[in-house]
């Protein structure tokens, strides 16, 4: 299907241009990445600006730039106009990067497209160069205002070195665009804009890849917090590097160690209970399929799957309605026995694991059974008929035909739950936990949330999260290898 655009002589010039294009594209990617990193923000012209702003947020929102400026504005240390200008300047840099991007994308097309792309990149480069001087002007203005107010030490005007990188990128882009334009000068231009399908498809995919990178891969960069003494709201600086301090803390600090042991007990205990009872949905499906009354079976299936689709918050609302001190159960007991019952079922630490298991079952068993129900419907009816002829009873058929047919599915799901042994999720345990049952309820995911978001112990909770992620991946590979060895099929 692909058409060859480079018919005829492919000149040395074009080869050089292709190499230069790669430099251009890499430069553009670097430029895009820089936009999102607060530590490389050229628009941070003074110390009172928030350290955690990226150029991108400076460009899209004026309010975030001046978020901490209340006093500085009131006392005229800085001029509002300068920061409006800064906002527009940042936005212009973003636009210049977008232009360069467009040019870079067009460089994947035919010569006509390439040449147009070069023009677009060149404009992007020029705009970026101009913004360097604009930024310099803003810096001078801010310094001037601060000096007039005599508050240089408070405002701390600064001209970020990263501005020179942006300038270099702009100049580089412009230079490559010009050189390539000269190199491609003699190459004849086609009538239409066209692009090879492989690049065309790639460019359509690019935004999706970019989103995945930003939201799934970029967080990995946050693992560096595990090695720094970091408190929420600060910036990282090399002098805060502490190496493996927080890794050691897990083992060396008695308090943390005790916490971790309890948390691991809860995690493994509740996951273990889940694994031990993982046959229940299968049994549920087998017995359900023994019900010959179609409408009743359908009814059961519909209503036992509904709880799977409500949130844990709602499950907790239900738990409160039924089991709180003035809930349904206590009210019923009171009215039946005549004595006042107000047992705090939810507020006690007794049998926490079993209670959580029960709620998990209530919510999930009907839905988990559906996969087995479908498998049962796929079993060859001939097997049952042959068994009947051989004189097998109902239970014998269930045990000797249905169960063995379901075992492969069961096995896969079991391995997955073993691989997920550390990931109980936090929602269920968060909503059900209260001061009374906190000890027996805190699983790993919830502990990370409580420490990290609740208490702001970012490095420690990052370390725990990191270890958890790595162990989970190892478990998954292990389970997969096991599955391959035993069944000859992988599970992922």
């Amino acid at each position: 299907m692909s058409k060859n655009f480079s018919d005829g002589m492919y000149s040395t010039n074009q080869k050089i241009a292709d190499k230069l294009y790669w430099i251009l594209r890499i430069g553009i990617v670097v430029n895009v990445i820089l936009l999102f990193f607060p530590s490389f923000n050229p628009a941070r012209v003074c110390g009172i600006m928030n350290k955690n702003l990226s150029l991108f947020s400076c460009g899209v929102s004026y309010d975030t730039i001046v978020g901490d400026f209340g006093r500085a504005f009131r006392q005229k240390w800085v001029d509002e106009a300068d920061f409006h200008s800064l906002n527009i300047c940042s936005l212009t840099i973003i636009i210049s990067v977008i232009l360069s991007c467009a040019g870079g994308c067009m460089s994947l097309g035919n010569t006509k497209m390439k040449k147009t792309g070069l023009a677009v990149s060149a404009v992007g480069g020029i705009v970026e160069i101009i913004t360097f001087f604009w930024m310099k002007g803003i810096y001078n203005a801010v310094t001037q205002t601060a000096a007039d107010a005599g508050k240089i030490d408070k405002v701390m005007p600064m001209f970020q070195n990263i501005n020179f990188v942006y300038l270099a990128l702009g100049i580089g882009m412009l230079a490559i665009a010009c050189v390539n334009f000269i190199l491609l000068m003699k190459v004849p231009v086609e009538e239409k804009f066209e692009m090879e399908p492989k690049y065309h498809l790639f460019l359509m995919m690019l935004p999706i890849i970019a989103l995945a990178l930003v939201f799934s891969y970029l967080p990995l960069y946050g693992w560096r917090y595990a090695f720094y003494d970091y408190k929420a709201g600060e910036t990282l600086s090399p002098d805060k590097f502490v190496g493996f301090k927080y890794f050691r803390q897990i083992i060396n600090t008695p308090q943390t160690k005790r916490d971790i042991i309890t948390v691991m007990e809860n995690t493994l205990g509740m996951s273990g209970l889940g694994i031990i009872t993982s046959w229940v949905p299968m049994a549920f499906a087998i017995f359900l399929s023994e019900i010959k009354n179609g409408p009743f079976r359908r009814f059961v299936q519909t209503f036992t799957t509904i709880p799977n689709f409500i949130s844990w918050v709602l499950v907790y609302a239900i738990a409160l309605a039924l089991f709180s001190t003035d809930g349904f159960i206590n009210t019923m007991l009171t009215s039946i026995t005549g004595e006042i019952h107000s047992t705090p079922y939810l507020m006690s630490a007794e049998h926490s694991w079993l209670k959580m298991l029960a709620w998990g079952m209530w919510k999930g068993v009907g839905w988990s059974a559906i996969i087995y129900v479908a498998s049962i419907s796929g079993i060859d009816q001939g097997l049952y008929e042959a068994a009947t002829v051989d004189g097998a009873g109902r239970f014998q058929k269930m045990w000797h035909i249905t169960v063995p047919e379901l075992i492969p599915t069961f096995f896969v799901l079991l391995l997955m739950s073993v691989a997920n042994i550390l990931s109980n999720g936090m929602e269920q345990y968060l909503v059900f936990s209260n001061p009374q049952n906190k000890e027996t309820m805190q699983v790993l995911d919830l502990y990370v949330y409580n420490r990290g978001i609740g208490s702001g112990l970012i490095p420690l909770s990052t370390v725990i999260g990191m270890i958890k992620s790595l162990v989970s991946v190892i478990l998954l590979f292990g389970a997969n290898a096991f599955s391959k060895a035993v069944r000859g099929e992988s599970i992922v």
Binding site: P197, F202, M205, D326, A374, T409, V412
Partner: protein, 319 residues
Amino acid sequence: MDIADMDMNEHKKLNDSVAGTSGMVEKPTPADYIFNVINYLFFGIFTISCIFPFYYIFINTISDPSYVTSGQITLLPKGLTIVNYVNMGKVGDLWTSVIVTVLRTVLGTALMVVVSSLAGYLVTKKEMWHRQLWYRMLVVTMYFNAGLIPWYLNMNMLGLTNTFAAYIIPGIVAPYNIILVKTYIESIPAEIEESAYLDGASYLKIYTSIIWPLSKPILATIAIFGAVGQWNSFQDSLILNANSPHLYTLQHRLYIYLNQSSNIGALASSGDVSTIANSLNTKIIQYTISMVTIIPILCVYPFMQRYFEKGLMLGAVKG
């Protein structure tokens, strides 16, 4: 045959053949009778345990507040009224939450479906530059993540904390759904697409005029799962938008009311009368918000059940 019809038939077959062993008529033995009775009883009771909580909350919301507060509602509503819902309507922050939740459900689901559909189509195209690499990159994210805290710090760094966009943008690329769509599109006969290509249609044209209409069943499935996920989402509101009450989702709002109630409930057992009155008032609020939060799911689920099951089956094929 239309693919949607095929789905319908498959589904019917699935339900009809659940009975499994219906091939032959056998003489029931006493053991069979006992088994059947126990079996029906078990499923009957379990099903009731799944329905009753919703019913119980519902009758409390349509009963007169004085009966509810004195704990007189057990199996039947008393003093039918809609006053609880009317009162609820006066609570401003509930409306904000409803609007936020509805908006994120609609917008988030729509964007996710469109992007999953396009991405699912694109990753089936073998001629794409480094297709395997991009596809694997998406798949890996399902099995591996950096963890909660790095995720939070990342969102913070991107300036997405305390914004509505935090509900929408991260969810646009959903690798699992992309895989489902890809698998589905691969099952569509390749000839249909090839003939269109030979007629000179562009990829985008093929996508909009052939792939999109043909893959509607799977898109409906991922849309419905996506919508339920958005409606139920609670963690992003709790973690990312904790400082912006105007962005709290319905689930988050409900969580706050539930906690208030249980805290006040704990006080109430210590005997402070005014807090008891307060707590019982919170109880009605709590029931009513629960109902508001559940109703869309209860209304939609029975009609959409086949799409849910379809989604589960497709996921199972993929593993």
